[in-house]
């Protein structure tokens, strides 16, 4: 349990000071100023702040080594259609963008919303490079996915994107967050109008010299549907955080994901689902595996407001510790103020089922492969809602990790 209240005005670390100086070099506007002020109040989140007890960003960015490491490959690389590449500090470079997607590069962002709950979102809004906000307005169905590629080297990068799906539109977005070094943070705000459907895929991989945050807020209009699938390999510290709001009723969210934490990697899946309105459904399956020296974190929260009757929400988190020296921490949380609801969560952490392992070995499969086979099928359940072609790519990535020499 949390120790005690984090003090409101912690002494500023050198890294925090550097971030605030970075702000000073950016164009000044009210939106950025409000965001940096919000950030100054909290500073970088650390382990004494509830919600960050297992992911101490302040400690992780301390003495972040700058090696010239290329960022890990982006598995969606071949899908060049409809791509936006966010490199360095410049304006995003574009591949061919489908008709029906209007892109605006805004010099000044709107307010950054309630950032108190998401301190890194505030930081991102304050420090966004290139345009303050890159805005995508999607007004007709897109068959090809829109691909957002974010990478980071020593200087890190901060990017802010807003995506609106107009009424009834179906769109697919692939986000790749790959980092070779530096501290990077991305904030994507999705707004789904009535009956829109978003298929969102998040891929994250980072070197052990990078600290990454992939923040997203998704607002669901009436009857809207979010189908999210994430795969994270972690970095020195990587936080993949999604805040979903069922804002108008009858919407549905699928929030699946898998994390694979190898040596020297820390990967944190955090999600917060606000059931503000009645009759909404949330389904979440998160699977994780960690090797020696790797750490996985899952924090899931469903908050069901008093008026959100007939909420149907289920959260599952299951983790395998593949070797001693691995670590998995979980906090599956329910906060419920409505009575006519069905809410449940299940959480397990432990080893591969020994009986299943024996069964497979009895058929002649060597232990290492048998373990990989069981782990892969275990992880794959998290990709079940994704488009089959995407699921195949994610499965292949997971398999490669599982079979990689340790």
């Amino acid at each position: 349990m949390a120790s005690s209240r984090a003090s409101l005005h912690p002494p500023r670390s050198a890294e925090e000071q550097a971030l605030i100086e970075r702000y000073a070099h950016l164009p000044a506007d009210a939106s950025r100023r409000a965001a940096i002020e919000a950030f100054e109040k909290t500073g970088l989140p650390h382990r004494r702040v509830e919600g960050w007890r297992w992911s101490d960003v302040r400690a992780a960015v301390r003495g972040l080594e700058c090696k010239t490491v290329a960022e890990p490959p982006d598995p969606f690389h071949s899908q060049a259609e409809g791509s936006l590449y966010f490199y360095d500090d410049g304006l995003p470079s574009r591949g061919r963008i489908a008709a029906g997607v209007k892109i605006d590069e805004l010099a000044i962002g709107a307010g950054s919303g309630d950032v108190a709950a998401m301190p890194l979102a505030a930081l991102t809004a304050a420090l966004a490079s290139g345009p303050a906000v890159t805005s995508l307005d999607i007004s007709s169905d897109t068959v090809e996915p829109i691909r957002l590629h974010f990478d980071s080297r020593c200087d890190g990068q901060f990017r802010r994107v807003e995506i609106t799906l107009r009424k009834g539109v179906t769109a697919r977005v692939l986000e790749s967050h790959v980092a070779g070094a530096g501290f990077s943070s991305v904030l994507v705000d999705y707004r789904l109008e009535a009956d829109a459907t978003l298929h969102r895929v998040v891929y994250q991989a980072g070197a052990d010299t990078a600290v990454q945050a992939a923040n997203a807020r998704v607002w669901l209009g009436h009857g809207a549907r979010l189908v999210q699938t994430a795969l994270g390999f972690g970095a020195k510290l990587a936080r993949i955080e999604t805040r979903v709001t069922h804002g108008a009723g009858a919407s549905e969210a699928i929030l699946n994901g898998a994390y694979l934490a190898g040596k020297g990697r820390h990967v944190d899946f955090t999600s917060h689902v606000g059931h503000d309105m009645p009759g909404c459904v949330t389904r979440q399956i998160v699977k994780g595996a960690a090797r020696a020296g790797g750490r996985g974190v899952f924090q899931g929260k469903f908050l069901v407001a008093r008026d959100a009757q007939k909420t149907d929400a289920n959260m599952e988190h299951h983790a395998l510790l593949l070797e001693d020296g691995a670590e998995v921490n979980a906090k599956p949380e329910l906060e419920i103020y409505a009575d006519d609801v069905q809410c449940a969560h299940g959480n397990t952490a432990g080893a591969i089922d020994e009986d299943a392992l024996f069964y497979i070995r009895q058929r002649g499969v060597p232990e290492r492969e048998a373990r990989a086979m069981l782990t892969e099928s275990f992880i794959n359940e998290a990709f079940g809602a994704a488009d089959p072609a995407i699921a195949d790519i994610l499965t292949a990535e997971a398999r490669q990790w599982l079979l990689a020499p340790q």
Binding site: S4, L321, V328, D339, V341, N347
Partner: protein
């Protein structure tokens, strides 16, 4: 104290043995309903001359308490160090509870019936206090023991009929009576107030006090370490199975006081003890603070079963008054194959903040936590457990049933932590929440930390409302709505009720009904 301090005078409930054993049937439901607005039967006040410490909290208060109890110097120093630390600590804010800031200077830290420390035998205990316990429905036979010391129960025949329970009665800041001491002593069991233990067994107290809950553990535990007034001390020697249930009955009576009791139970190698705790307080408009510390130590192969029925005054339906119950309870399974089991039925208090925990240090040790927490009106409960797996093959089990009604909030908060040395640790956790009515809140906040690849940790949680179908089914068979609710609630909490000693199980079921009264319709 003037009589108009008594805010409400409730009738005591019928606690005749027959009534108590009847269990949940239409009769008890009717009896409970007959209470109408006087739902809290324990809400009366006993008018008795009190001796109080001056209001407020400073070093002098700490010295006053220590002097009153004629404590040795080491204990005074221990308290003073705790007080120094406490002054630098911040009140925790992470629990899902809210209350106006507590003014720690606006309370009395010591209140005792005049001359209480000098009671040599039960005969010297004032009749008003004896009547208080009688009214609280401490089973009839026990009352006789309290009254006569060598009364009826100690006749062999009566003893065989009634499961015997030895009682330590704590009235505000001090222990007023402890029964069966002589007989327990024959078995080598030490059962006395902690103040007495400080005098009579200083070496044991010195060795174990603060060894499970360190002085600086948390804000409320540190406060308790500075100002604790009384509580119970138990020592079960090697290989002894305690011949009867031990229990402490806590009663807060004086106005404007806090109660800070300290309980220390040591089960030496291969011993067994079952301990029960009950708590009540008068109804008042003000909030009173209760910050207790309970420490359990189980050495190799020992087992401690600790049960609580907590029924402090919860405040009225509008949230006025009630006890702030900030309690630190922790057991240390220090030896191999030891076992500590916590069972709690929490129906009272305006605010409950409590996490009875187990440190599973010994190899093959076991921890259990069975909890029923009921909130109604404006009550807030944030309660659960911590299971800290340090030793090999350690096992823990958590079953929590939360029921939220009225405008209350009920949170399960628990930690299961498996450390790198805890090979093959196992945990199973089940947390079920039941919502009654649409203005209550039910929350589940588990923390799971695993650093062993061979650990097996399982957690399940559900939140539901009472099923309309089941309610209808029961009513179709002729039960009225409240009886149907009682029936279903009983089913919901059954797993935990079964873990309670018989006498308490019946008591607990009745309490549940009374607590939930008026929550439907």
């Amino acid at each position: 104290m003037p009589a108009d301090d008594v805010t409400k005078q409730a009738r005591p409930r019928d606690r005749s043995p027959g009534g108590a054993k009847a269990g949940i049937d239409a009769g008890t439901v009717a009896a409970a309903r007959a209470l109408e607005s006087d739902k809290y039967a324990e809400g009366f006040f006993t008018d008795i001359e009190q001796e109080m410490a001056p209001k407020g909290l400073n070093e002098d208060t700490v010295r006053f308490i220590s002097a009153k109890k004629e404590e040795p110097e080491w204990l005074l120093q221990w308290r003073l160090e705790a007080f120094e630390r406490w002054k630098q600590m911040e009140e925790p804010s992470w629990a899902l509870i809210s209350y106006p800031p507590i003014d720690y200077q606006d309370a009395y830290y010591y209140a005792a019936p005049k001359n209480a420390a000098k009671y040599k035998s039960i005969d010297e205990v004032p009749q008003e206090i004896l009547d208080t316990y009688a009214k609280l429905g401490i089973p009839l036979k026990e009352q006789e023991v309290l009254l006569g010391v060598e009364g009826a129960v100690e006749t062999a025949a009566a003893a065989r009929e009634t499961p015997r329970v030895a009682v330590d009665a704590v009235f505000d800041s001090i222990s007023v009576a402890t029964t069966f001491k002589a007989e327990l002593a024959k078995a080598g069991v030490i059962f006395m107030s902690i103040s007495e233990a400080v005098r009579e067994h200083p070496e044991l107290v010195k060795q174990y006090l603060g060894s499970v809950v360190p002085v600086t553990d948390n804000f409320f535990a540190t406060l308790n370490s500075a100002v604790f007034s009384d509580g119970t001390f138990v020592y079960i020697p090697k290989g002894v199975r305690c011949p009867m249930e031990l229990s402490t009955y806590f009663r807060m009576n004086a106005k404007g006081t806090g109660q800070f009791e300290r309980t220390l139970i040591i089960a030496d190698e291969g011993s067994y003890v079952s301990y029960l705790e009950g708590c009540t307080a008068p109804m008042r408009d003000e909030n009173q603070l209760h910050a207790a510390v309970v420490e359990l130590v189980a050495l190799g192969d020992a087992e401690i079963k600790y049960s609580t029925v907590q029924n402090w005054w919860p405040g009225d339906a509008e949230g006025k008054g009630g006890i702030y119950n900030f309690v630190t309870k922790r057991g240390d399974c220090r030896g191999p194959r030891s076992k500590i089991s916590w069972t709690q039925v929490e129906t009272g208090s305006a605010i409950t903040w409590k996490y009875p925990s187990c440190i599973l240090r010994g190899d093959d040790s076991q921890g259990e936590f069975y909890s029923i927490a009921v909130t109604n009106g404006r009550q807030q409960a944030d309660t659960g457990t911590k299971m800290i797996h340090l030793g090999k093959n350690t096992r823990s089990r958590i079953i929590s049933k939360g029921i939220s009604a009225g405008g209350s909030n009920n949170t399960y908060r628990g930690l299961v932590s498996v450390h790198p040395r805890a090979a093959k640790a196992r945990n199973f956790t089940q947390c079920d929440s039941l919502l009654i009515g649409h203005t209550a809140g039910a929350h589940t906040v588990p923390y799971v930390e695993n650093r062993r690849s061979d650990a097996q940790l399982e957690h399940e949680a559900t939140t539901t409302k009472l099923s309309d179908d089941q309610l209808f089914y029961a009513r179709q068979r002729g039960l009225d709505e409240e009886a149907a609710v009682a029936l279903l609630v009983n089913g919901f909490v059954r797993d935990v009720i079964q873990k309670l000693p018989m006498e308490f199980a019946v008591e607990a079921q009745k309490l549940l009904e009374v607590s939930l009264e008026g929550s439907v319709g």
